[in-house]
Every structure is written in structure tokens, then in C-alpha cells.
């Protein structure tokens, strides 16, 4: 079992997302995260799926995805050099006595405070999944009020390009 990050170009059609997610549930594949949004060409969406499975299962996943009529291209980014990023918004308790510490911790992780109230901070942090995990771990758990993560987006390094 290993972690794979799969990038998909698919037609931006109603129902395309449910075909992909339905495929994963129908065939009992794991989905750790799934993100999707239109590309510079509004008729096409780019999806990133993080999954875990044996080599055989991941091979089947890419073949089954390719078989979906609305899927244009599929690539397993983990087969070669790639970059992945995830964004997290995390709301923490930040009253008078926690404020300083919390700001310092955000700075260490190069996170940004993007909303402030009398007793909360909302912090934005971008990085790979492990960095986001590490930030959550580093905080006083009881100070965390809300966590929102986008799931990973991925792209190949250098000249490795996924397009039509």
C-alpha cells in the first residue's frame, strides 16, 4: 500500500464529479482527498485525487478513470518528480494571553493571520500535507476551534505537463 496523487483532466460537465467519486465507491478504492476546479479553459476541469493502494489497485484506478467517457487525461503524479500543495484555514482561540504565542507559531510555519477578532485568529497556511499536519500538532489542541483543509493539488515538475 502506498500513497498516490493522481491528476485528471476532465470535461467540465454536470455530473462528471459524481462519475469519478461513484467509481471510487463502487470499486472500493480509497479517496484521501479530492479537489476539482475549472482550468484556464472553462470547458475543462482539473482534478487531483490522493489515494492509497497497492500497485495493482492504483493501476486499475488509472485505467478505470481513463475509461470514463468524460475523462480526457489521467496521470499518476507520484510516478515522477512533482509538487503538491494544500491550503488550510484554521481558526484558533487567541485571547489576550494566547495572542503572542499564536502569532509566533504562525510565523515559524510561514502562515498568515487573515482574520482577527477579540478572541480568535483565522490563520492561512499552505504547504504539503505533512506541513499542515505538523502545524496542527504544534498548536495547543484545545485552542483549535475549526479546521478547513482543501485537500492536495498537484503538478509535475519542470517540463512534465498535463494538458490536451
Amino acid at each position: 500500500m502506498s500513497r498516490h496523487i493522481i491528476s485528471i483532466l476532465l470535461e467540465n460537465e454536470a455530473g462528471a464529479l459524481s462519475r469519478v467519486s461513484g467509481l471510487f465507491s463502487a470499486r472500493a478504492y480509497n479517496i484521501e482527498s479530492l479537489t476539482v476546479a475549472p482550468t484556464e479553459d472553462p470547458s475543462m476541469s482539473r482534478m487531483t485525487i490522493v489515494t492509497t493502494g497497492s500497485e495493482d489497485v492504483v493501476e486499475q484506478i488509472t485505467k478505470q478513470l481513463n475509461k470514463l467517457v468524460e475523462v480526457v487525461k489521467v496521470v499518476d503524479l507520484s510516478e515522477a518528480e512533482h509538487i503538491e500543495r494544500e491550503m488550510m484555514l484554521i481558526k484558533v482561540r487567541a485571547g489576550a494571553k494566547e495572542r503572542e504565542d499564536m502569532k509566533r507559531m504562525a510565523d515559524i510555519f510561514r502562515a498568515r493571520v487573515i482574520d482577527v477578532s477579540d478572541n480568535t485568529y483565522t490563520i492561512e497556511l499552505t504547504g504539503d500535507g505533512r506541513k499542515l499536519d505538523a502545524f496542527i500538532q504544534a498548536l495547543d489542541q484545545s485552542a483549535i476551534l475549526e479546521t478547513v483543509r482543501t485537500g492536495a493539488s498537484g503538478i509535475g515538475r519542470g517540463n512534465r505537463i498535463l494538458r490536451v
Binding site: G15, S18, R19, A26, D56, Q60, N66, V69
Partner: protein, 571 residues
């Protein structure tokens, strides 16, 4: 195609025009609120004939089998809500066996979608896992293009059912009609040619084989590859077996044919499959009913070449050494060219000697002196009486396996059964579709008293369209296959597999306006069949009272390897 500028057609007119453009002869369907405008247009023309079934499951099966027996795209038309849900079993059946079919479904008006309207169901959502693709048409301008795409998708690549959901208001709106001549989709470009390097590797492996085996499946039938298959099998001189879905792809009476393989395959086919050193798999998918336990199958080392149009069928359950993605006839032609150039077939005499020993076990033998009708005997007589030239449809269970084992199919598209989904109730509507596309042909529906009752209402459709189907009901008063498993694996506890209160099938057939015959003695089997098949204009329901305790042998128990068979002689 006539395209009249400025003349607008309604959505309903467009649907019918599209069917005409596609050359559709028959639509199988059932009317209802959401499709009334389409039915009105069907009424106004006579190019596309409508066949009124008695239940939408029957419509889907009949359209499916119209396609199975002809390789034309079957079309089925049903209304929204229950019309769709009733058809789902038939759609899933076609999907599992990769049958090209187009299903047109009515939908509530676009403004009502999502508001729990009367007879509303999310047709696209409910069928998504059992279609090749589906569409909801929200704008009449997209209707013709979508229907064109549906027909294209259904019959290209790995075929399958495609559903088009049409809201009622779309059938009422109008626009200019233009039926596209071609389809271009950047996301869908099925491969046809096999990779030449892979084909070369395959040829080398085949020529070096000592214990080769050719294993063929439904893909051979679907792609019309019987001719090149026959050529390659004879060219190489190798043994050949077939899955349930591939029967008829290679003539069953040929000595190189080892019979069907799998859970109820012959001893020789299963032993050769397990013990071969080079396996050529063609349009088959190594499913659980074919190779049993994949770990047991993998215990014997062998090189596997796999030709299939669908890459996801390759290395799914069994790791393959030489995958070749492509259209089976094209790949076989390339392979034949290479093999012919090499000349000479490998000497595999010792392997044939071994196969001969396995064959000598005579694994399909049964008691021919029985005083009770043996179901195998009925199928053998059916084969003789129809001179092996009938279209045979079946339902699901013991009778299906006996038909597959004992009716020797010589030609493709003659054996029509639900292999993947295993749908009881399939046989009778299947026979309707087959008879309509092959008028004048001999069509037999081999069934059992449990299966036939699952789509029995179609006897009424058969009457309306004067379909002279011959129903061979192997009546053992049990859900035979369930009973067999209960006998073997559940300590003879026949839980709910006995059918008490069975109807009098003779009276029932007569009630629908057909001829019914009861046969309870072995000596009456052949005369009854001869009499029935002489009646060219009549549906005859033959109710054969057969041995209640007969089992299908050989049998590979679930989870076992295919060489671990139970034979009749073991008991």
C-alpha cells in the same frame, strides 16, 4: 439526410427522426406521462416500429438481445420514474455483458427536476454505475447531437448501454433539426490497432509453447472475430476453450475445442487452463466464474498474452505478461500475418496426448437409462431436433449450464444468455428480441420453472406480435442451482429453494393464447420437440418434468481453483 433550413421540429419529432437516421427498425418500450409526445410522433410514422412489452424489464432485455443476436444497436424507450427503475435490471444485464444499447427515458419537466415531482427519479444517478455513459438533455438544441453520441458510444470501443434522459418539456420545445454525420470527442478515442511490438512478442511466445491454450470470451462474439479466431486456432493447432459468453465463437464440434471452461466447465478445459505454459486470452476477462481462485490459478507458472479492447480488463484479476489493447479482429489479423510468415506449427503432440487422457474422463456423462427425464437429455434432443442451428436463449441457473454444456454452438450470436449479471427472467424477453431481428429463424428459450416466472408477463407480448418462440421449461420444481449449492455446502437444508404452488404451465400458456404441452416421460421428449418445432406460427410452451435431484457437473466450488472440480463420478 434532408436538412431543411428554417424548419423547426419539436423534441419529440427530433427523437423519432434520430432513430430513423440511425436505421432503427424496432424500439422496445412502454408508454407513460413523460414520453407521451414521443409516442405521439411514433404513431405518426411507420419507419420505426414499436414493440409494446408488458413490463419495462422486458423492454430492456428485448432491446439487449435484439443487439446480441445481430450486432445492431438495440433501442428501448421507457417513461420516467418506475419506467426507469423497472428497466434498470435490464440495463445492468446489458452493461455486464458489454452489449451496445441505447435507452431513451422520459423525465419530468426541467422546472420540476429535483422537486420530488410525480414519477420523478434521478435516472442519470440511478443508472450511472450500470451504463457506459448517460446524459440528461436540458436543451432541445442538444438533443440530436446527444442521441448521435449515444449511438456512437454504445457501439465503439468496449460496447455498452448508453442512456439519454429527456425531460418532457424538451420533447415539446422546438429547434432546427440537423443530425450530425460524425462524432468527435477529445475525451473518447478507443484504440483499434494492437501495438506491433506486443504482437511480435505474442507470436514468439506462441511459437515457443509446449503446452499452449487459447481461451476466448464474449469479446470474440461482440467484435465479430469468429473468422480470424478460427484461422489462428487452426494455424497453430492449439486447443481452444471458451467462456460461457464466448460459446459459438469457435465451432463446438471441432476436435480442437475442449468445451466451456470455468465453474461448470469441462474437465479437459479446466485442466488444460491450469496446466498450460502459454495462454492466449482473447476478449475474455478472467472473472471469478472462469478461473476460480486467482491465487490457486497463479500457482502454476505460465506466460499470458491478453488481447482486449478494454485496458482495464487486462491485469485486473490475473497479472498478464503480454497485454495487447485493441480491436480483437484487427489484432488477430496482425498476429496471423506474423505467424504465417514464420510458418510451421509447434509440435505439441505430448500435450494433446495429455488432453486426450483428460477428455477420456467423459466429464459430462449422465444416466441415459433413467426413467425420469434427465435435463441434459432434453438439451441433447433439442440440439438434434434443431440440427444445432437454433438461436438459444436461456435464463439463469442449472438449465443455463446444461444448455451451455450440451447444445453445441457452431456459430456466433446463437447462444444468448445473461452471463455477467446472471439475471433470472432474461430468457423470454431475450427470445422476443432475437425472433424479431431474425424472423423465420428457430428460437428456443431454455428456462426453468423459477426463472420463467420472473418475466412471464411477456407471453402476452409474444401473442401480440405472433412470435413463434419455443419454450423449453426444465421443470424440477426447485430453484435448481440454489438447491445444488444447498446440497453441497449447506447440509441439504433446502432453505426457500422449493417452489410450492407452481402454476399449471400448460393452462397458463393456453391462457395467454399459446400452445402448452406437458412432458413427463423420457420417450416423449423427442416427439414433443419435433412436434413443437414443426409449428412455425405458434409459440409452444413445453413443460418438461425433470429429475429433481440432478446436479450440474463438473463443479468448481466457490473459492477453489479451477482444477479442483467435483465430478459426477466422485459421488
Amino acid at each position: 439526410m434532408d436538412r431543411v433550413k428554417g424548419v423547426e421540429l419539436t423534441g419529440a419529432e427530433i427523437v423519432v427522426r434520430c432513430l430513423q437516421e440511425e436505421g432503427v427498425e424496432y424500439v422496445f418500450g412502454y408508454p407513460g406521462g413523460a414520453v407521451l409526445f414521443i409516442y405521439d410522433e411514433l404513431f405518426k410514422q411507420d419507419k420505426v416500429k414499436h414493440v409494446l412489452v408488458r413490463h419495462e424489464q422486458g423492454a430492456a432485455h428485448a432491446a439487449d438481445d435484439y443487439s446480441r443476436s445481430s450486432n445492431k444497436v438495440g433501442v428501448c424507450l421507457v417513461t420516467s420514474g418506475p419506467g426507469v427503475t423497472n428497466a434498470v435490471t435490464g440495463i445492468a444485464t446489458a452493461y455486464m455483458d458489454s452489449i451496445p444499447m441505447v435507452i431513451l427515458t422520459g423525465q419530468v419537466p426541467t422546472a420540476a427536476i429535483g422537486l420530488d415531482a410525480f414519477q420523478e427519479v434521478d435516472a442519470v444517478g440511478i443508472t450511472r454505475p450500470c451504463v457506459k455513459h448517460n446524459f440528461l438533455v436540458k436543451n432541445v438544441k442538444d438533443l440530436a447531437g446527444t442521441i448521435k453520441k449515444a449511438f456512437y458510444l454504445a457501439q465503439t470501443g468496449r460496447p455498452g448501454p448508453v442512456l439519454v434522459d429527456i425531460p418532457k418539456d424538451v420533447t415539446m420545445q422546438s429547434c432546427e433539426f440537423a443530425y450530425p454525420e460524425t462524432v468527435a470527442m477529445r475525451s473518447y478515442n478507443p484504440v483499434r490497432k494492437g501495438h506491433p511490438g506486443q504482437v511480435r512478442k505474442a507470436a514468439q511466445l506462441l511459437l515457443g509453447a509446449q503446452r499452449p491454450m487459447i481461451y476466448t470470451g464474449g469479446g470474440v462474439i461482440l467484435s465479430d472475430a469468429a473468422k480470424p479466431l478460427g484461422e489462428i486456432v487452426r494455424l497453430l493447432g492449439f486447443p481452444c476453450t471458451s467462456t460461457l459468453m464466448g460459446l459459438g465463437g469457435y465451432p463446438a464440434s471441432d476436435p480442437q475445442f475442449l468445451g466451456m471452461l470455468g465453474m461448470h466447465g469441462t474437465y479437459e478445459a479446466n485442466m488444460a487452463m491450469q496446466n498450460c505454459d502459454v495462454l492466449l486470452a482473447i476478449g475474455a476477462r478472467f472473472d471469478d466464474r472462469v478461473i476460480g481462485n486467482p491465487a490457486h490459478f497463479a500457482q502454476n507458472p505460465r506466460k499470458i498474452i491478453h488481447i482486449d479492447i478494454d485496458p482495464s480488463s487486462i491485469s485486473k484479476r490475473v497479472r498478464v505478461d503480454v497485454p495487447i489493447v485493441g480491436h480483437v479482429p484487427d489484432v488477430l489479423q496482425d498476429l496471423i500475418k506474423l505467424l504465417s510468415a514464420e510458418g510451421g506449427k509447434p509440435d505439441i503432440a505430448p500435450w494433446w496426448k495429455q488432453i486426450g487422457e483428460w477428455r477420456a474422463r467423459d466429464c459430462l456423462k449422465y444416466d441415459r437409462n433413467s426413467k425420469i427425464i434427465k435435463p441434459q437429455f432434453v438439451i441433447e434432443k433439442l440440439y438434434e431436433v434443431t440440427r444445432g442451428d437454433a438461436f438459444v436463449t436461456s435464463d439463469v441457473g442449472q438449465h443455463q449450464m446444461w444448455a451451455a454444456q450440451f447444445y453445441k454452438f457452431e456459430k456466433p450470436r446463437r447462444w444468448i444468455n445473461s452471463g455477467g449479471l446472471g439475471t433470472m427472467g432474461f430468457g423470454l424477453p431475450a427470445a422476443m428480441g432475437v425472433q424479431l431481428v431474425n424472423p423465420g429463424a428457430t428460437v428456443a428459450c431454455v428456462t426453468g420453472e423459477s426463472s420463467i416466472q420472473m418475466c412471464l408477463q411477456e407471453l402476452s407480448t409474444c401473442k401480440q406480435y405472433r412470435l413463434p418462440i419455443k419454450i423449453v421449461n426444465l421443470n424440477n420444481k426447485y430453484m435448481g442451482m440454489v438447491r445444488q449449492w444447498q446440497q453441497f455446502f449447506h447440509g441439504n437444508r433446502y432453505s426457500e429453494s422449493y417452489m410450492d404452488a407452481l402454476p399449471d404451465f400448460v393452462k397458463l400458456a393456453e391462457g395467454y393464447g399459446h400452445r402448452g404441452v406437458l412432458i413427463d416421460k423420457p420417450a416423449d421428449v423427442e416427439p414433443a420437440l419435433r412436434d413443437a418445432f414443426k409449428r412455425k406460427d405458434e409459440l409452444v410452451f413445453m413443460d418438461f418434468l425433470t429429475d429433481q435431484t440432478e446436479n450440474v457437473y463438473p463443479m468448481v466450488p466457490g473459492g477453489k481453483g479451477i482444477s479442483e472440480m467435483i465430478l459426477a463420478e466422485d459421488l
